[in-house]
Amino acid sequence: MAAHVESATPAPAILQEVNPAVLPRPVLVGHNRSFSWITDKICGIIEGPTPTWWWVCFAIACCVASFTVAGIIYLVATGVGVWGHANPVNWAWDIVNFVFWIGIGHAGTLISAILCLLRQKWRTSINRAAEAMTIFAVVCAAIFPVFHVGRVWYAWFLFPIPNSNYIWQNFRSPLEWDVFAVSTYGTVSVLFWYVGLIPDLATLRDRFAAVGNKTRAWLYGFFAMGWRGSNRHWSNYEMAYLILAGISTPLVLSVHTIVSFDFAVSLIPGWHTTIFPPYFVAGAIFSGFGMVLTLMLPLRAIYGLEDLITQYHIDCMCKITLATGTIVGYAYAMEFFIAWYGANPYEGFTFINRAFGQYWWAYLLMVSCNVITPQFFWFKSVRNNTTFVWVLSIFVNVGMWFERFVIIATSLARDFLPSSWGYYSPSIVEIFTFFGTFGVFSVLFLLFIRFLPIMPMAEIKAVTPQADVHAGHDHH
């Protein structure tokens, strides 16, 4: 090392000292907003009078949700045959809708758990709503597997409860793994969401108590569980939150991996592939971020939250959508490559059939929505155009639903035996039941934005410029 310092040789190719330019960190709360502004802004959404648009949306959402209720009542009263399943397609919209909804939830968990562990501070303003989205999506997802068993009062057979029939679960079946994966996922998501809510519920309790609204002070106070914001509370809170983030992190990967096993563990051509777990997880996060954008952009516009959900937040979400969407596109290509390279005639036929067979229209929709749509997010001008981003996010949702439909319907409709080939069309009951789940989801989400703080106030305050102890100084 010392040799070259005093020598007269030309300057070394490596600089003696590297002084990289310090890139300014994007500001996460615009306009240098103060702590009290943040509290007033977010609590104001709950404390203010119920807006007319909320009632209109709520009424519509209830009407839509009634389709699911009616569909389910009809199914339970009549039998599972009211859905359009028939040989050879015995899994159809029920499992498509299940995977669609459960996939959407994954963005919430990714934002709350993985981004928390990776210290991605931009997660703070979207994580609460995204976690709510996760829970409500799991609720919608759970409807389908629970009711597709037909006699729903026997759904407890799914759990290993000792009984006088000696019925015991087949633990070698991925469908049984699914039961545990999804119920664990639901439980942990609710806990994570609730723990995060506690400090904010205490804020609301105090604010309602200050204006003398005893009922709401009592209600928020009950769920705040005596939070006083003491040092000890905060230190316990941080630890609980970290542990839950640690538990949730593997769930982001495991839940959809197990969902993909429902297919990959079988022997059906087009399902029996090792690429399924990563492909499904990427797809789930892709669809989830699509849904987060679909939900957050209108909220941002309606409540004027531009200082809290900044352009930087939207950029980040668009980039994750782009990355995961591109992984999904790669997986589509790789499936075809392996079908050809693996030289299995059934696999080869399945993929040719998938793209050019009877469901070619669904395949075309899937590819155009999932592969082409996210590529727009390469362009800053697109990411800056909120309306366009929102429209693209809808295409992502549509595309990801069709992905599941394509995988499930095409493989089953054309399996090994040509004599049993068929074509699947959904029954009207199935269509209504699925349509209604958007209402169920909307009802829950509307209640959430009306009665709970849609952003974690305490966490946002921690990422404001004022909260930075080095503000205005060197970052060393």
Partner: protein, 217 residues
């Protein structure tokens, strides 16, 4: 600002946990005891149109089961006797007893005596009576000691778990061919040890099905 909650609320979380544990424990115990076939079926002893006593006919007089239930070795369904069977004796014994009026009427008209069924397999269960009787399963295994009953009652749970107990370990339940209708006889396993039971199951090629389709066809 006054407190919203009284000081006693501090104990609430613990109280809720304790109540939940107690409640769930009670519910589990209640369901286990009151809602399983061991409670819902065992002890069912309906009043029959004729006060027929198995204790008298079988226990004291030594009637064989097959005298009345004549097809149980040949038929998948265990039959009840016709009034003709009763009248074989009762045309002479106690021929004017008012308790037998229903039997005499049945004999004259040909209408069946309206016996109340006690042991019943559900519609979704395939059960062949003859197969069991011919493969070392004595009456007493499922029906209990009928020969001691004044009024027949449901003795065993006949739950799916009850069936599987025997289908999984037939060696503990089988009897010699000669002992099938002797309700006081011991099983081979109690008489000669488990090895003898296993040998009987092997020699008689007893292969009770354990797959779903064995019974739910």
């Amino acid at each position: 600002m006054s407190n919203i909650f009284p000081k006693s609320a501090n104990k609430l979380p613990l109280q809720i946990v304790i109540y939940l544990v107690v409640l769930v424990g009670l519910a589990t115990a209640g369901v286990t005891y009151y809602m399983t076939p061991k409670y819902t079926r065992v002890g069912y002893a309906p009043v029959q149109p004729v006060p027929y006593s198995h204790a008298l006919h079988v226990g004291q007089l030594g009637l064989d089961c097959r005298y009345c239930h004549s097809n149980i070795e040949q038929s998948g369904y265990a039959n009840l006797p016709t009034a003709q069977t009763c009248m074989n004796c009762h045309s002479m014994v106690k021929k004017d007893s008012p308790l037998l009026a229903v039997v005499r009427k049945s004999y004259e008209t040909g209408e069946s005596v309206p016996w109340v069924q006690i042991h019943q397999t559900p519609d979704y269960v395939y059960f062949n009576h003859a197969v069991h009787v011919n493969r070392g399963v004595s009456c007493v295994e499922c029906h209990g000691k009928i020969n001691e009953m004044e009024v027949v009652s449901h003795q065993k749970s006949l739950s799916m778990g009850f069936c599987l107990d025997c289908h999984r370990n037939p060696e503990a339940h089988v009897r010699e061919k000669a002992d099938i209708f002797n309700l006081d006889s011991p099983t081979i396993a109690t008489k000669s040890g488990t090895e003898a039971g296993v040998k009987f199951v092997h020699d008689w090629k007893i292969k009770p099905p354990q797959s779903c389709t064995g019974c739910h066809r």
